[in-house]
């Protein structure tokens, strides 16, 4: 049986505000299933989010939750984790929140390898503000601010966070909930900066405008284009063109930031005596 997620949800705040067919709910539910499997302490977990449809997740999650300014969730999370390293700190962010306005905080959190679990809901668009392009909108797609087609190049956030120093990097999709649960379970157990890109659909402000159809069609698009990393690697370069690899893409051990700071404390105390 799938894990019961109700004990992690603020029942009186539901149903949520997300549109019919929005993938954010699917990502959040499977994040909670992964959390349940990880057996972390609900009372010792803080979830921080920024602004956007994705940012509204904290209102529904029954933990200590903090809903902050656009793009800055990681900075608050860094203060919380530094202050009390015993806490599990999760950041829920969007592709605009985390990769545009908050992009600098993202790479620096990765560089520090501070033990924060970053969950980025990637719907390739600014959902909440009704469809402007984000740094994750593919080149050529249309958006309200790219009526003639987006000329920007989008990021590969998994490559970006990995090279910036994240020690757990994974990509999942709403269409593949079982893989998502596994990613979350493993990611929550990892110690160090954990980056999880969760591809999700915004039928209202992305799908419709780009003639991708409704939520069901968008999920079918994910099914065709998002493939397991092992399979992806077995493909020839041309075949990879329109495919996106998913799964745990990278994991490594490197000393975590708050552990390193404990050593600073130890040596400062040593030099004092």
């Amino acid at each position: 049986m799938a894990e019961d997620i109700n004990r992690y949800l603020r029942q009186d705040k539901l149903p949520h505000i997300w549109c019919p067919g929005c993938g954010h709910g699917t990502i959040m539910a499977n994040m909670l299933r992964g959390f349940a499997r990880s057996r972390l302490d609900q009372d010792k977990t803080v979830v921080v989010s920024g602004i956007g449809c994705s940012g509204r997740a904290t209102g529904y999650l029954d933990f200590d939750t903090l809903h902050v300014t656009h793009g800055r969730a990681l900075t608050f999370a860094t203060g919380i984790k530094m202050a009390n390293p015993e806490l599990t700190v999760i950041v829920v962010t969007g592709d605009g929140d985390g990769a545009a306005i908050g992009g600098n905080h993202l790479i620096h959190a990765c560089r520090r390898n501070i033990d924060i679990k970053v969950v980025l809901f990637n719907n390739s668009i600014y959902g909440m503000t009704a469809g402007q392009f984000s740094p994750m909108t593919p080149t050529g797609a249309t958006a309200t601010t790219a009526p003639y087609g987006n000329i920007d190049q989008n990021f590969d956030l998994c490559e970006l966070t990995r090279s910036a120093g994240a020690t757990f990097v994974a990509r999942g999709a709403a269409q593949q909930p079982r893989q998502l649960i596994k990613i979350f379970e493993k990611g929550f157990a990892h110690r160090g900066l954990t980056f999880i890109e969760a591809i999700t659909q915004c039928p209202v402000n992305y799908g419709r405008r780009n003639k991708l159809g409704g939520a069901r069609d968008m999920l079918n698009w994910q099914k065709e284009h998002i493939i397991n990393q092992t399979k992806y690697e077995s493909l020839a370069a041309e075949e990879r063109q329109d495919k996106i690899p998913s799964g745990i893409l990278y994991q490594d051990k490197r000393e975590e930031y708050t552990e390193r700071y404990e050593k600073v404390i130890a040596s400062a105390r040593g030099s004092e005596n």
Partner: protein, 389 residues
């Protein structure tokens, strides 16, 4: 509780040191129990970061250098919500960057201290020259109506006292407190006595009891308008947001909630003006001219008034240590009985507008303004006293 750094410093003896204003922020902060610093280097405030980087870990506190001032402000609020006494320090350009998260801090009611060692602006301006140009930004820098407390020391000794007071007011009123230094005070060296924590009043935020966990409303109206605040991880599982919210912490999108919250946030400060407004004066009762100043400018003002009296002029001085909330009632009463209030400021005229508003035409108001990075010498103030006497 959590204030490891504070507990440690309590064991320390009072001591005499030769300190810069910036260093005094560090020493005063540690006496008050500062246990967390996040910041980004900038002249003339970097010495504050350097001091905390060296001293906090030895006391079990934490220091982190963030990627910018936006991040520093967020980090400090996060640490505060996790239970620390947190502080950040910057100067003009960085103070501008902190404004958005400062508003968030006011909205979620996170106690913390934000130091701004003012330099001449706008923009990069004159990085190493003194200014009092951020007085209005301290009041209105973040968008929307909001309460704020801003203190401004004029000496190194006062910097120690007001840093302690900043932490105390932040904890007591659950609000970010701005400590406005200027480059002169920040870099000036004076011999000062650092008190032991046992000698001074140290305030800790009200925390709820564990049994309050059932039916906990984190933003509940209380008699003093200040709801108790748990640390993260204590099982309260509460929500905070920059959106207008009701007592539960959740937004309901109702205009009634917005009004009630704003009124409570303002009432925390407005109903405690006597506690928050700190000022000193030297008035004999027969003054015709009173010089009202704050920060390093007060030093010139006091020396000018002393000389004016020696020359037989009926002059007095007032030094504001609390710049915001503004000492409106005090100034109104003063204006009723003097001929002229002289306001010297290192800007083109900022706090003078508040003085005019409070005086309401009952006294003449004249300003002395410098905005070129040089100080206002006592002579210039003395000349003005003579001119308006």
């Amino acid at each position: 509780m959590k204030n490891k750094a504070g507990d440690k410093i309590k064991e320390n003896q009072a001591r005499i040191m030769l300190l810069q204003g910036d260093e005094a922020v560090v020493e005063g902060g540690l006496v008050a129990g500062a246990s967390f610093f996040a910041g980004y280097p900038i002249t003339p405030a970097s010495e504050i970061a350097e001091g905390f980087a060296e001293k906090l870990p030895a006391l079990g506190g934490k220091f982190i250098q963030m990627e910018d001032e936006i991040a520093s402000m967020g980090c400090v609020i996060g640490a505060s919500l996790a239970g620390e006494k947190a502080i950040t320090a910057t100067s003009g350009p960085g103070f501008s960057l902190k404004q958005e998260n400062l508003g968030l801090g006011i909205m979620v009611e996170a106690p913390c201290v934000v130091v701004n060692v003012q330099r001449v602006g706008p923009s990069t301006g004159l990085p190493t020259s003194p200014s009092q140009g951020d007085v209005m930004q301290a009041r209105w820098g973040t968008h929307g109506d909001h309460p704020i407390i801003a203190l401004s020391p004029s000496t190194v000794k006062e910097t120690i006292d007001l840093t302690i007071k900043s932490f105390n007011m932040a904890e007591k009123y659950r609000i970010p407190v701005i400590l406005l230094l200027d480059e002169i005070v920040g870099h000036m060296r004076e011999k000062v006595r650092i008190p032991s924590a046992a000698e001074v009043e140290i305030v800790e935020r009200k925390r709820p009891r564990p049994e309050d966990r059932e039916e906990f409303n984190p933003y509940q109206e209380t008699e003093d308008h200040i709801p108790p605040m748990p640390d993260y991880g204590q099982g309260f599982r509460y929500h905070s947001t920059g959106l207008f919210h009701d007592k539960t912490g959740f937004p309901r999108g109702k205009s009634e909630d917005a009004r009630l919250l704003m009124d409570r946030l303002m009432a925390k400060i407005d109903e405690n003006l006597d506690d928050i407004i700190l000022l000193e004066d030297d008035l004999k009762g027969d003054e015709e001219v009173v010089v009202l100043s704050y920060g390093s400018t007060a030093r010139s003002a006091i020396s000018a008034v002393t000389r004016a009296r020696q020359e037989g002029l009926k002059a007095g001085w007032v030094k504001l240590m609390t710049v915001w909330p503004f000492a409106e009632d005090y100034v109104a009463r003063l204006a009723d009985r003097v001929k002229e209030i002289v306001v010297p400021e290192l800007n083109r005229g900022q706090l003078i507008g508040e003085v005019e508003r409070a005086a309401c035409g009952q006294a003449g108001i004249s300003g002395i303004h410098r905005y070129d990075g040089t100080i206002i010498p006592p002579d210039e103030i003395l000349d003005k006293i003579k001119e308006v006497s």
